[in-house]
């Protein structure tokens, strides 16, 4: 049965919708249209003159090896971050699902990182891995590894991947745990009677039944790694060394606000917007159909 509230006047519904619409307009529609507009302009750094250049900004971007490098780097960063945080969260969720005593405490601790702001998380990892004063760097030195993410691009990439996935583990954990708990116990029991050991049960029963959750989280995590990791990169590496950690979202910032190439930066954010829209559409189209069993 359809539940529908019918308003008699016209003003009440308008009033109720207004806050949401206002927020969307001010924080999304307006900046997005600004970006779209700017992306076809060539503007000098002081905003004194501007020229309409059609799609030149985009053409320049795709001819720029630095930008294309950043694309590849972002793809690498996102997939490794997503894989790492999903894998870790799944392991933790499977373990938490088995815990009988002290469940609440265990879960609370696992959920905390999600409440930490990206920049704060970045600073946390920045200190732990600081080449001169970091505790973990110190330990690594004992193991014979000279950690220095200021000089070593691989170290820097590893560090932002670590920090970014750490922050996302909580979110994934919650969803995986809920997904695991929604699987009827009798299915697992039936599989045990049917002669499947713990790993086989996980592989053939539990994991396939979790696949809608996994797919949803995969998209969410890729979107996260693409767009929400600015704070982490900014706090830990500022895109360096030698652009080794300049992922797309960071490049938008550094080209626009440091390089003052406003048109190019706007064009980059338009491309990022297109990526997120494509991912979201993909998610909505497929989540119900393909993955549902």
């Amino acid at each position: 049965m359809e539940k529908r509230v019918v308003f008699s006047g016209r003003w009440v519904p308008v009033l109720l919708l207004a806050p949401q619409v206002t927020i969307t307009l001010v924080f999304f529609i307006w900046p997005a249209s600004q970006a779209l507009y700017q992306s076809v302009l060539l503007e000098d750094a002081f905003g004194l003159s501007r020229k309409f250049v059609w799609l030149d900004n985009f053409r320049i971007l795709f001819a720029d090896p630095l930008y294309l490098d950043s694309f590849g780097r972002t793809a690498f960063f996102s997939s490794v971050t997503a894989a790492l945080s999903l894998g870790l969260a799944l392991v933790l969720a499977v373990m938490a699902d088995r815990v009988i005593k002290g469940t609440a405490l265990y879960r609370t601790f696992l959920i905390w990182p999600y409440a930490v702001a990206p920049a704060v998380a970045g600073v946390l990892w920045f200190f732990m891995f600081n080449p001169s004063i970091g505790t973990l760097t110190y330990l690594l030195r004992f193991l014979g590894y000279q950690w220095n993410h200021y000089l070593n691009g691989t170290d820097a990439m590893a560090l932002i991947i670590l920090a970014a996935s750490w922050k996302q583990v909580s979110y994934n954990f919650l969803f995986f745990l809920a997904g695991l708990q929604a699987i009827p116990r009798s299915l697992v029991e039936a599989a045990a009677i049917d002669g499947a050991g713990p790993f086989k049960r996980f592989r053939t029963i539990i994991f396939p039944l979790l696949s809608p959750t996994t797919f949803f989280l995969l998209v969410v995590n890729i979107v996260y790694a693409f767009f929400d990791t600015f704070g982490i990169v900014h706090a830990i590496t500022s895109g360096g060394p030698a652009q080794a950690t300049t992922i797309l979202v960071y490049k938008v910032y550094s080209d626009g606000f440091i390089g003052l190439d406003l048109g190019g930066s706007a064009a980059q954010s338009v491309i990022l917007m297109a990526v997120v829209i494509a991912l979201t559409v993909f998610q909505f189209r497929y989540i119900e159909r393909k993955v549902a069993y």
Partner: protein
């Protein structure tokens, strides 16, 4: 094929709930034993201990000659049909049935042969490619049965497999299960709280109450000679009437308390004046003429079921007398307010100890 033996089996859950307090029973090869009892009496717990899904706290369970206490569910060679069927939702009907065989590395053509045979028996041939979500309740039930029989196990375990079906289908599936079990000759344990299901299916019944087996026996023996007042009240529908009474001083019968009615009964084993609980089945109370009547019931509610009519009433006496239900032939007309004179054969008067509920012989 193998029998099943319980010796001193107990279960205490980690939270301290004592669900089963010492079951001793043996199930013969090919026998179908129904475990019946009210909700929470430990039926599922007992079954799950046989399956290996719950640890056995004390005692021993043997399948054939093997002690299975320490074995994993997979190694016990049992198959279980769950109340919610527990079909794997992401697999086809074929894969659901083949899953257990694949895990045991059965050759591919053997799997195909066995699944095809089971599908034929259960009329699932046209459904093999479907997912469980695309089946009706009855069809899912059949798939669950099929998954159990393709494994050709030593023991079938059923935990209320029919309770999610509608009444008609339940009757039909009940017959099918019985037929299948007899043709396969597989030892089976079947849990239910439905006493009609229990009576019709069982070779023998285990009537459980509060974690103990109150009686183990063939359905008709249990019906005719219930070992306790609990069993007497649980088996048989409508339920047995219980009337407090005392053994007559003459030693020839019992006097129903508060009503002055006297029933002839075999009371030789009881001392006179002893208080007893008299059990009378509604179907054993027969209409009689006014002067030969042992009991007279004042009817206050009538349920006409067609074939039978159930008359509920009280035995008039000082104050509100004890309640009594009588099953009469459907053709007999009774109205609220009538007084029906009744008689009962001494063989059908059951006597129980009012304290512990045990049968008095």
């Amino acid at each position: 094929m193998a029998g099943l033996t319980f010796s001193g089996v107990r279960k205490t859950y980690p939270n301290g709930v004592r669900a089963v307090h010492g079951i001793d029973a043996s199930v013969g090869d090919g026998e179908l034993i129904v475990i019946v009892g009210p909700s929470g009496c430990g039926k599922s717990t007992l079954l799950r201990m046989v399956a290996g899904l719950e640890a056995i706290s004390e005692g021993e369970i043997r399948i054939g000659e093997r002690r299975v206490n320490e074995l994993e569910p997979a190694d016990r060679n049992i198959a279980m049909v769950f109340q919610n069927y527990a079909l794997y939702p992401h697999m086809s009907v074929f894969d659901n049935m083949a899953y257990g065989l694949r895990n045991r590395r059965t050759p591919r053509n053997e799997i195909a042969r066995r699944v095809a045979a089971a599908a034929k028996t259960l009329q699932l041939e046209d459904l093999l490619a479907r997912r469980p979500g695309q089946l009706s309740g009855g069809q899912r039930q059949r798939v669950a049965m099929g998954r159990a029989i393709v494994r050709e196990p030593d023991v079938f375990l059923f935990d209320e497999p029919l309770s999610n079906l509608d009444a008609r289908l339940r009757v039909q599936m009940r017959l099918e299960i019985r037929r299948l079990q007899q043709s396969l000759g597989t030892t089976s344990l079947y849990v239910t709280h439905d006493q009609v299901e229990a009576m019709t299916l069982a070779d023998r019944l285990i009537v459980m109450n509060g974690g103990v087996a109150e009686q183990i026996g063939r359905p008709l023996d249990v019906y005719r000679h219930p070992a306790t007042a609990f069993v007497a009240g649980f088996i048989g529908s409508p339920a047995m009437n219980f009337l407090p009474a005392t053994v007559a001083a003459t030693g020839s019968g019992v006097i129903i308390s508060g009503t002055g009615h006297t029933l002839t009964a075999a009371v030789t084993a009881c001392e006179p004046q002893r208080p007893v609980l008299v059990g009378l089945r509604p179907e054993h109370l027969l209409p009689a003429s006014e002067d030969s009547a042992a009991l007279k019931v004042a009817v206050d509610l009538v349920e006409a079921l067609g074939a039978d009519t159930l008359a509920h009433g009280i035995l008039p006496g000082d104050g509100a007398g004890p309640a009594l239900t009588v099953r009469l032939e459907g053709s007999r007309r009774v109205d609220v307010g009538d007084t029906v004179p009744l008689t009962v054969s001494p063989d059908h008067v059951h006597l129980f100890d009012p304290g512990n509920g045990n049968r008095l012989v």
